[in-house]
């Protein structure tokens, strides 16, 4: 028998060339058409300038896309995903080569000839095997182990298990077809005494080759052609099917991550490219219909892989509020698939509230950012929620419980409706020098630093203690500081996040003017919400710091020193844990400073809760959220207090007045008074810091009922 050259074996595919070509053309055409249809809503969307800072964006692609940065946060699922992702990346060239080989038998991918090609083939044999095994594991997770976060409550629509299994099966099939193609080809070569491509030992192609190696040549030929056909069809089917479900992220994730939001703590403007002055001309605010979303936000809807991590970390979801970030996305995706069908005309501009979203759902969010922190694809939620709220505010669709504080903010500059002139009444303490008052920067008095107090600390009896503690500390550290007093208005942080942009603008403008008139070089605040507002929502104000940042620096430099309170702490058996406020931690990345301050207090025993730092669990939300009456099964604060108890702590230290309100309340609701207490970082430092000539110090410890 005359020897058959390797080309002859490959030529098994030759008779099918026309068919394969036709399938290629059809597959690519279908895919292009579907993608075009998916792009249609994006072209009708609001503008969203995301084309700046290409290097920074590419860096994020390397980190979050190629580097799969967020995935290990869920160890098992994350590892599985990294393996599949790596497999796909590795297999991409191989898949294209196989596809092209059907029409151009001698095609070799440039750069993959010779030795490199052989190594590549061996590596990808394993890659295909790993991906195949991952599919089996993933399917068994979905079918047998059923992690809770994949469940879809009936109110949010149907589950995606069937869809997921189908896709996993398709990918597995693709891997098998690819392997069988290689195995049959290699087996053919061997049978004919030809130099055969080496298959990686114990890989899927290798095992298949062992299995079919002794079959007749004609059967191998059928396997080869059959495997090719199945591979080609499965490939294009998968390509065209993915844009109909959760697997579309394979295509869109790269773009989603490239165009992802770069600045934490910020909010998108009402309309990109419309200045504050032009806002009056904007006909409609916020998102009311699907087309009011920006194109990037629509892209997010396509990119979500429905992994459930956002909802798994969402405090609102945890306490049974009618919100889970994941379903905000999947409901919007269902909407866009239905209203922008691949076949047929777009049917658009329906209101979203009352149809796919409920009012309570949108008001339930505390903007804590846990979902965004967790999302491997960097899907944005807060901007969307705020845009939906802007739409509701614009339509007058606001819960009665929020209308009163909003009106009070408009008329009085604080949500409680208290008189402006009493805003600075808290600022009295015998420790603050001879007259016992904090300097009010009203033009007559000047200072280097402004202490921005904000509403809750100014008016709430309990929180005023945080204000006084902050003032004591600043005084003892020798800072030349003052407050705005009656001239201060609410920072507007929550006003803005509740969607009342115009009211926010008015508050911001008032404060900006007052701050400028005060002529200070820096601002300090003990309220992370005010901190975030001044840092990200305000323009042209001096740099702002949270008190914990000042304290950490002063402790490091030795300027801030503490009394020897080891014995005092020991006697009380206090075990401290630090609760990260969302707007200090996640939104501004201040995690270490407060901890460093705590650790510099001698003898202070500090432990971490399981959910800490960027996985901190929201206390229940600040500002206007205190007035909102959500439907919920339990309070976030109660959940949080139990977490602290579970960790073994009996004192929660926080650094935000709203955390204080919520946690203090929660301790009562949970019936844990006497077993758990809460103290603000500033209050704690005020109690223990060294202060020469402070006769009140000993007495302060004497009367300290909370947290030492």
């Amino acid at each position: 028998m005359v020897g058959i050259s390797p080309q002859d074996v490959v030529n098994w595919l030759v008779p099918g060339r026309e068919l394969f070509l036709a399938l290629h053309v059809l597959g690519v055409a279908c895919f292009a058409y579907i993608v075009w249809k998916r792009l249609v809503p994006l072209l009708r969307a609001q503008r969203d300038p995301r084309f700046d800072q290409p290097f920074m964006r590419l860096g994020r692609v390397f980190k979050f896309w190629l580097g799969q940065w967020k995935h290990p946060r869920y160890k098992f699922a994350g590892t599985l995903h990294i393996l599949i992702f790596a497999g796909f990346i590795l297999l991409a060239m191989r898949a294209f080569t196989v596809l092209i080989v059907g029409v151009s038998p001698n095609f070799v991918m440039p750069g993959l000839s010779g030795r490199t090609g052989e190594i590549y083939d061996l590596v990808t044999d394993y890659a295909a095997t790993v991906v195949f095994l991952c599919m089996v594991v993933a399917a068994s997770r979905r079918l047998i182990f059923k992690p809770a976060r994949y469940a879809v409550p009936a109110k949010y629509g149907k589950g995606h298990t069937a869809d997921a299994i189908f896709l996993l099966g398709l990918i597995a099939l693709l891997m098998v077809a690819d392997s069988l193609f290689a195995a049959s080809r290699s087996a053919g070569h061997l049978q004919q005494g030809q130099p055969a491509e080496a298959l990686a030992a114990f890989s899927l192609p290798w095992m298949l080759q062992v299995a079919i190696g002794s079959m007749p040549l004609a059967t191998l030929r059928s396997f080869n052609i059959g495997a090719y056909l199945v591979h080609e069809i499965a490939f294009y089917f998968l390509l065209c099917y993915r844009p109909f479900g959760i697997q579309f992220h394979v295509e869109t994730s790269l773009f989603s991550i490239y165009f992802s939001k770069l600045q934490r703590g910020t909010l998108k403007p009402v309309r990109w490219g419309v200045s504050d002055e032009q806002l009056d001309q904007v006909k409609s605010f916020g998102v009311k219909t699907f087309e009011d979303f920006t194109w990037k936000h629509m892209l997010d809807f396509y990119s979500c892989a429905d992994c459930g991590r956002c909802a798994d970390n969402c405090p609102a979801n945890k306490v049974g509020r009618p919100l889970a970030p994941r379903f905000l996305t999947t409901k919007a995706r269902d909407y866009v698939f239905q209203h922008y069908p691949v076949l047929g005309k777009a049917n658009n501009s329906h209101p979203l509230i009352g149809t796919i979203y409920s009012e309570d759902e949108i008001w339930s969010c505390t903007t804590c950012g846990a979902c965004e922190e967790e999302c491997p694809l960097l899907v944005e939620y807060i901007d969307k929620i705020v845009d939906l709220r802007r739409g509701m505010i614009d339509d007058g669709n606001v819960p009665q419980s929020l209308q009163k504080p909003l009106k009070a903010l408009e008329s009085r500059g604080n949500p409680y409706g208290k008189i402006e002139k009493k805003r600075g009444d808290w600022a009295k303490s015998p420790e603050l020098g001879p007259d016992g008052k904090i300097k009010v920067l009203d033009g007559k008095n000047g200072a280097d630093t402004l202490y921005f107090v904000d509403s809750i600390t100014s008016y709430d009896d309990r929180m005023q203690s945080i204000g006084r503690a902050t003032a004591h500390i600043l005084t003892r550290l020798g800072k030349n500081f003052g407050i705005l007093g009656a001239a201060e208005r609410d920072s507007g942080h929550e006003v803005r996040r509740f969607g009342e942009e115009m009211l926010f603008t008015a508050l911001r403008d008032h404060n900006t003017e007052a701050i400028k008139a005060a002529g200070v070089q820096s601002i300090v605040t003990a309220d992370p919400h005010a901190f975030n507002a001044l840092k990200h929502d305000y323009k042209d104000v001096p740099p702002v710091e949270h008190i914990s940042q000042v304290l950490a620096r002063e402790a490091k430099s030795g300027n801030l020193r503490f009394n020897s309170v080891e014995k005092w702490l020991e006697d009380r058996g206090h075990v401290y844990t630090y609760h990260d406020p969302c707007y200090l931690g996640r939104h501004n990345q201040v995690y270490d400073d407060p901890r460093d301050v705590l650790d510099s207090i001698p003898g202070l025993n500090r432990i971490e809760m399981q959910r800490s730092r960027d996985r901190s669990f929201c206390c229940g939300g600040g500002g206007l959220m205190l007035f909102y009456e959500p439907r919920e099964e339990q309070r976030m604060g109660v959940v949080r207090v139990r977490m602290a108890a579970e960790a073994g702590a009996n004192v929660i230290v926080t650094a935000c007045p709203f955390c204080m309100v919520n946690i203090e309340d929660a301790i009562k609701v949970a019936g844990m008074e006497g077993k758990m207490s809460v103290i603000d970082l500033a209050e704690l430092v005020d109690q223990h810091m060294v202060c020469e000539g402070c006769p009140a110090q000993a007495q302060k410890l004497e009367t300290a009922t909370v947290g030492g």
């Binding site: 419980s401 009456e629 309340d665 009562k668």
Partner: protein, 328 residues
């Protein structure tokens, strides 16, 4: 001095408690005369009511008319306008019926109108000196009312304490024939009775009643716990119902239930009269409120100025101890 009339509300033959209060109010205008009672209605119920009227009234004017079987303010007004002499002073209880009737009546009688009168300081010439409350009871005002062409006064329920030892009521005078035909452009259809709640607050001897001071729904539990230990029921004021923190069936007040407990613990209730109007039988009233100037402290027997959310748990704890000891 113009003649003084009191419009008397009655139901099912029983005269409303406010009748005696109207006598007391009338005596503040002129201690020397007995006011004339006016009762409208039809059938035996009206007869029973006329004979059941308490002491202190002079004549009793009876207006029987089938159209007045239900006290429709529009029809009652027509009837009163036809029988009242010019320049009369008419006292009406300031409740949902009085609010419906009195302002329009004053126009038709071309007399002065004063609403929700809290106290009467007598008459000087043509000027009747009154006290009213404003801004939810935060401030009062002295008001002068010109009675030269008569007046209609709405008297706040509970503001005038019934007087003791008054002469028996006078004779019944039938005024029905002077009324003639009554035509209504507003027709009474039916009364929809509020759904009975799980707990009947009118039957409890101790009520732990909560107001706006409870701050949020989750804190209602603090009151419920205390009530459980005390064997009491939790009731509330209107804002609590408006906020949907408690069912309407728990509301005490003019638009809610009228209760007659022995002890009433007003927790975080400011003390608006609409609420107080629902508390009858002079219970021992203990008020807990953060604001020392809350009007509730003016009517309470004992007051505690404290944060409700702190005080209630303490009280529950103490009550548990007490009950626990008692049980042994």
């Amino acid at each position: 001095m113009p003649r003084i009339f009191a419009y008397i509300v009655h139901r099912g033959g029983a005269v409303d408690d406010s009748a005696a209060e109207l006598v007391a109010a009338a005596k503040k205008i002129d201690a020397t005369v007995a006011p004339t009672a006016i009762l409208t209605g039809s059938g035996p119920e009206l007869e029973t009511a006329c004979s059941a009227i308490g002491s202190g009234f002079g004549e009793i004017w009876k207006v029987a008319n089938a159209a007045l079987a239900y006290a429709n303010a529009e029809l009652v007004r027509q009837a009163l306008v036809r029988i009242l002499p010019a320049g009369s002073i008419v006292l009406v209880n300031h409740d949902h019926f009085g609010i419906d009737l009195a302002p329009g009546l004053s126009i038709k009688l071309n007399s002065a109108f004063a609403s929700d009168v809290l106290a009467i300081d007598g008459v000087e010439g043509n000027s009747l000196k009154l006290v009213r409350q404003e801004f939810g009871g935060q401030v009062n005002s002295h008001v002068h009312c010109d009675i030269s062409s008569g007046a209609v006064l709405n008297i706040r329920p509970g503001a005038f304490k019934p007087l003791a030892s008054l002469p028996t009521a006078g004779a019944v005078v039938d005024k029905s024939s002077e009324v003639g035909t009554l035509v209504a452009r507003r027709r009474y259809l039916e009364t929809i009775v509020a759904e009975a709640g799980d707990v009947d607050i009118t039957k409890h001897s101790v009520l732990v009643s909560i107001g706006r001071g409870i701050q949020e729904k989750d804190n209602v539990g603090l009151a419920e716990e205390l009530a459980e230990v005390l064997g009491a029921a939790v009731s509330c004021s209107r804002p609590v119902v408006d906020a949907k923190w408690m069912a309407k069936s728990r509301q005490v007040g003019s638009s809610g239930k009228t209760v007659k407990p022995k002890v009433y613990l007003a927790c975080g209730i400011s003390g608006a009269f609409q609420h107080l109007a629902g508390i009858k039988g002079s219970p021992f009233l203990i008020a807990i409120n953060k604001n020392p100037k809350a009007p509730i402290f003016q009517v309470a027997d004992v007051g505690i100025v404290d944060d409700l959310l702190e005080f209630l748990p303490e009280l529950t704890k103490k009550a548990r101890e007490l009950r626990g000891v008692a049980a042994k």
